[in-house]
């Protein structure tokens, strides 16, 4: 996890996309909760986004 955070921070720094950070933190905290409580995540069929 620490390696992931380091790499992600590096990514934000190089791309100069710090403004994404609050969104990501909120997502990971809440999303993490949802995922942990829900079980499996299933991809919808359209490929554009995912």
């Amino acid at each position: 996890m620490i390696e992931f955070l380091k790499e992600f921070w590096e990514f934000l720094r190089i791309r100069k996309k710090y403004w994404l950070l609050p969104i990501i933190i909120v997502l990971i905290v809440f999303g993490g909760l949802i995922v942990l409580t829900q079980g499996s995540a299933i991809a919808p069929f359209i490929y554009t986004i995912f």
């Binding site: 790499e7 990514f11 791309r15 919808p44 359209i46 554009t48 986004i49 995912f50």
Partner: protein, 611 residues
């Protein structure tokens, strides 16, 4: 010795490839092993195959490279959702759990999967990530026979880019310009694929095949969706599309523009409307590609063009670039879709990142795209015996003689030889072959062998030396990626009455001496066959020519609709027993359908989900 393992996965068409000292040793798509068409899952079997073929354990591989950057894709996702908010919440709510649970941690996920191949693989330090379109560009430039080329890539979307222009010089490749999501030529084409009732990501071929039956009467309406500049750059009017935020490709505004809802393939037939739509979007696509090609030719003054990305599989558009003589030479990556991304990622690492020198082969470095599995005569016979097949074994010359004779008697042959092709086209190693002179062959092959729509055309394999006698083309097309006209000396003019016919009715008119491979607009998707790339196939067609005077065979992929191309002798045998193929020729063995155990017959028409 340095090895690079390239992987593409988790989207569609997962694949793996291996380079040793820069040479492409093996490459294969996961779908061929898993038997699920366009399989997007981790390519375990494909990786196992390329490792085994190159006699390597995973822990001995020097570099592992994935074909795109997950973080960058995540950035695009978030920014797109922010840009369109509050629209798109339902899509957002579906996408985020998937990303937060899995996709964002792709390196770790990949590492854990890779560990399954070899217990001695204990470090993720040699896992790298290329960019989606750099991978495409590298797959087009580095195997090409050019020392310098301008590289055009176009597809649905990778991370941000949907269309790029890159310049390749010696062992360097640099992306110069990009068009970003949501403006995408691939997605425009896919939107119409969806609208006409075909499956996105696999039905694009059908749309292209349908186009010649229609007239481009909706061209102006299609152009309302897209603003095309003189240099070929474009912007899509997002008010008509739903893919950026929704779970469908198009929306009500799009439907209103064309006056119909998307066709439901389960209960609605293809009508002239769909053919005219196909024709219109194909025409606009060609216009954009031609403008792009002309502008980059003028801007960079380089005479060679390389193409890749899913849009480069639009062989009709490729043929137009060729016929307009915009570039002196064109080379198209045979695995132009995402499967080829595995190859491109590995090549990009080897040349761009590591700076290794290139050795150019004038015939290209793709080995005819014969990079997949192969079976020795021994293995074939063992497997055939095991599954209860009745077969006879012949010498090389006997095999060629017999097979060509069967073909001349209008028998349909399953032809399984040598190494499997990499990419979506069968190029004479995993092919169904037939006589192109037969007037009923196209219909029969479609309905009785491939179980697919009767409008779909078949492609010819032609001896390289006879190419220009039969088709309006003078350059090699070994990968079946260029469409051109049948030579007018070989075609029959339509009567006035016949020209008035619409749509599928045109199919029944004999259009040329080789009606099975002449599309309704007198075009054909050419594969040139030469002795160097595929000797056995070359010898077969030569013998067929000796008997019939015709140096051409119908070549279609060895599968039925919805099934991946056959990979093993058992797959081929199953296909023989489930369709109206007459013979299976596999290695030096010939199997006569009539001599097989009737209890082994299969019902293949419902075996695979329709694509």
């Amino acid at each position: 010795m340095t090895s690079v393992l390239g992987i593409s996965a988790f989207y569609h068409d997962s694949a793996a490839c291996i380079l040793i000292d820069g040479k492409i040793i093996a490459a294969a798509q996961e779908e061929r092993f898993s038997r699920k068409k366009h399989d997007p899952s981790y390519p375990y079997n494909a990786i196992e195959f390329v490792l085994k073929y190159s006699n390597l354990k995973l822990s001995e591989v020097d570099y592992i490279v994935f074909f795109e950057k997950p973080f960058l894709k995540f950035e695009r996702l978030l920014e797109t959702y922010v840009a369109f908010a509050p629209k798109g919440f339902s899509s957002f709510a579906k996408a985020m759990p998937l990303w937060i649970k899995e996709k964002l941690f792709q390196k770790n996920y990949l590492y854990n999967k890779l560990k399954q191949h070899d217990k001695d693989f204990i470090s993720n330090k040699n896992i790298y990530f290329s960019e989606h379109h750099l991978s495409h560009a590298a797959s087009a430039y580095f195997p090409s026979p050019f020392n310098e080329a301008v590289v055009l890539t176009a597809d649905g979307v990778g991370e941000w880019a949907t269309t790029t222009v890159a310049i390749g010089k010696k062992n360097d490749l640099e992306i110069k310009k990009e068009i970003h999501f949501p403006h995408s030529l691939g997605l425009l084409y896919s939107a119409f694929t969806y609208f006409t009732g075909f499956k996105v990501n696999s039905g694009e071929y059908k749309l292209m095949g349908l186009a010649p039956y229609g007239k481009p009467i909706y061209e102006d309406k299609v152009k309302k969706l897209i603003d095309i500049k003189d240099d070929g750059s474009f912007r899509l009017d997002q008010r008509y599309f739903n893919y950026a935020t929704g779970l469908t490709m198009t929306n009500d505004k799009f439907n209103n523009l064309f006056g119909q809802k998307p066709r439901n393939p389960k209960n609605e037939k293809i009508t002239q409307f769909h053919m005219d739509i196909a024709s219109s979007v194909q025409k606009v696509t060609e216009e954009i590609i031609l403008k792009l090609a002309k502008s980059i030719r003028e801007e960079y003054k380089i005479k060679n063009l390389c193409l890749a990305g899913g849009v480069a599989l639009n062989c009709v558009a490729n043929g137009k670039i060729l016929n307009e003589k915009i570039f002196e030479n064109i080379w198209i990556q045979p695995a132009a879709g995402d499967a080829g991304g595995s190859l491109g990622a590995a090549l990009a690492l080897w040349y761009v990142e590591n700076g290794n020198q290139r050795k150019i082969d004038l015939n290209d470095n793709m080995n005819g795209s014969y990079l997949g599995t192969e079976y020795s005569q021994d293995e074939i016979e063992k497997e055939l015996l095991l599954i209860g097949a009745n077969f006879k074994t012949f010498s090389y010359n006997e095999l060629i003689d017999k097979t060509s004779k069967f073909l001349s008697q209008e028998k349909v042959i399953g032809w399984f030889q040598g190494r499997m092709e990499f990419g979506p086209r069968a190029l004479g190693n995993r092919s169904i072959l037939a006589d192109p002179r037969s007037n009923t062959m196209q219909k029969n092959l479609n309905l009785k062998v491939k179980y697919r729509e009767s409008f779909r055309p078949f492609a010819p394999s032609v001896l390289r030396e006879d190419l220009s006698k039969w088709f309006n083309m003078e350059v090699d097309s070994p990968y079946m990626l260029l469409v051109t006209n049948v030579n007018s000396q070989k075609t029959y003019k339509m009567t006035e009455e016949e020209t008035k016919l619409f749509g599928i009715d045109k199919l029944n008119i004999q259009r040329s001496e080789i009606p099975a491979v002449t599309h309704v607009d007198y075009t054909a998707r050419i594969q040139t066959v030469d002795r160097i790339r595929n000797k056995r196939y070359y010898d077969l067609i030569s013998k067929f020519k000796e008997i019939t005077g015709c140096p051409i065979l119908v070549n279609t992929s060895f599968n039925v609709r919805g099934e991946p191309i056959v990979n093993s002798p058992s797959d081929a045998f199953n296909c023989l027993m489930g369709t109206e193929l007459d013979y299976l020729v596999i290695g030096n063995c010939i199997l006569d359908k009539n001599e097989q155990n009737q209890s082994l017959l299969k019902n293949y028409s419902t075996e695979f989900e329709l694509d």
